[in-house]
Symmetry: C2
Subunit: 345 residues, 2 copies
């Protein structure tokens, strides 16, 4: 298959509809799905269609069955919006050569009814029970987002790391003077551990992100926030995120469960900010220990390596991302996967 | 189409998988779906397949993709079990002449992919937003369970009232001496109003059923329960229900929202027990006012008609059910609907 033949294939990119694509602030799966669509168009693909909310923004063709993200419009029942979005997308399956599913398990249940192949990027296993659906559709095509986030019972075509949009992440060689932590505020992301580290180091800390577990926030985070040494600034869009990273001496990412990929780590490094991350899941695939940040096992080690941040070359952080985690690199890897599917059918 | 031709058609009865079919205690949709399957077999249909949980009991052929009801096995994610149950059932659509869906809106989203017609009994609109899916599949076939429970924007083939199994409901001409209220313990069912009535009448009250809203139960019901004049006995299976109705002077059904059908009212009348019901929704289709119970508009009226229960002929209550709400009558009506579908395609 020539490059020209490949790039004329008709690809449907199925994004979730929890948020707009790309999301205004939070929405990791929509971010990646959007980046795939934009990246394919940028690399010269002629027939890319993004299936996402109606208010989505894309250079691909946009097709929508849901006006707004259900997280942004509480009059919607999520299960209603998702089943309509998915089923009506797949009713058009015959118009495409490949469906690239970025929307979890439900689309798989329609695959026995359509002839077009479906590639599913498994952005995460929210619960072990969802494996029942994946196991039931093992004859489909799967991509993992890190080598560590793989279920041993599933066949994968490849790992394709997420790619991020570098244009909104300014590289700064000069470090800020604060510790920064951002993403979802949830026990999984270890915000409480980050607070512990900041206190022990006697450094200022800025926390940003959506509160995903209100009880966790109210009981374990809020009591520590004083809006001086420990500040909480809520969710950040790409512009605010860039401002935030300017302040960062280091980004702390003390996840308490295995990380699946870790967009936050890639974004931080893109801005030249070293990352201190728990050595769980994909963190060691994203960070190069002692080169672009530090992998640690507990709060004590995190405190210790804050003292070694100056040993990290911030240019190396940026380069790590440029070489491995750009949209272009991601899409280049997806092109290989698409080609594999087309040539093996 | 001859009766013989009709009864040789291959029918798939799709039951929900929240509970076993028939359910051990609560599970209204599973009850009706099960009754349809058993009723068709009893009326001589040769090719009836019930799609339900693996532990279900039926004289039809049973096919299962889910071991147990997700309400009875909390390791299951409901959305995983439902999408597997529905999609794998519909993968077999080609083996059937008709799919009779008793499982809400999700099965409709697979209809564009299958050739077999689907008849959906709309057992209730849990939320207005689910109409988005129904409106999107107006070319499908719908049955309402009462004339009052119809959405004006949808085409219906007929109303088919639910049928109940009379064999487990003993008719007793001699009234009990207690007020009885059973079903889901939820504000919608007006349990708190029933307590008010019982107190004002100075009569003993027995409440039975599953607690569907724990906060409602804890704040509005539990404080009144003394296990003497006001008793709560939890959920009842058909055997316990029969014992309960033996105690009943009248059944109080003071629903605060329009009733869709009201199995409880039919069951009560089958046991010869008059029903005092709020005049909302289908109640006036199930009860004949002043003949098999009383329709009321508030607590005061309910108190008043408790004093008139002796005017009701309990045999008439039973007859009302025998003539209108038996499984056989329900299935007879569904046969007419099935025939309509087969003859108009």
């Amino acid at each position: 298959m020539t490059d020209k033949e490949l790039k004329s294939k008709r690809i449907a990119i199925l994004s979730p509809v929890a948020w707009r694509t790309p999301p205004r602030a939070y929405g990791a799966w929509e971010t990646v799905a959007g980046n795939i669509a934009e990246g394919l168009v940028a690399r010269g693909w002629k027939n890319i269609t993004l299936f996402a909310t109606k208010d989505s923004i894309t250079k691909a063709k946009l097709v929508s069955f849901v006006d707004k993200g259900y997280e942004e419009d509480k009059s919607q029942i999520p299960s209603v919006s998702t089943c309509l979005h998915i089923s009506k997308t797949l009713e058009q399956a015959g118009d495409f050569d490949l469906i690239h599913n970025n929307f979890d398990f439900l689309p798989l249940t329609y695959t026995p009814f359509i002839k077009t192949p479906m590639l599913t990027t498994i952005h995460g296993f929210s619960e072990p029970d969802i494996l029942r659906v994946y196991y039931d559709h093992k004859d489909s095509y799967f991509v993992s987002i890190s080598d560590s986030d793989r279920d041993p019972g599933l066949p994968y075509l490849a790992t394709v790391y997420n790619g991020i949009d570098l244009s909104s992440l300014t590289f700064r060689d000069k470090p800020g003077d604060k510790l920064v932590h951002y993403g979802r505020i949830h026990n999984d992301k270890g915000t409480h551990l980050v607070i512990e580290v900041a206190k022990k180091c006697g450094m200022e800390l800025i926390i940003a992100g959506i509160i995903q577990d209100q009880e966790y926030f109210d009981t374990q985070i809020k009591p520590h926030i004083n809006q001086s040494s420990i500040r909480f600034i809520g969710p950040v869009d790409p512009v605010l995120r860039d401002e935030l990273l300017k302040e960062a001496y280091a980004v702390l990412h003390l996840n308490t469960i295995p990380e699946r990929f870790g967009l936050v780590m890639a974004e931080s490094m893109a801005a030249g900010v070293p990352v201190i991350a728990m050595d769980l899941g994909s963190c060691r695939e994203v960070i190069v220990d002692k080169q672009t940040g530090y992998l640690v096992n507990d709060v004590e080690q995190a405190v210790e390596v804050v003292g070694k941040i100056d040993l990290i070359d911030r240019k190396k952080c940026r380069r790590r991302v440029e070489e491995n985690f750009t949209i272009d690199r991601m899409v280049e890897n997806y092109e290989k996967v698409y080609k594999m599917i087309f040539e093996n059918r």
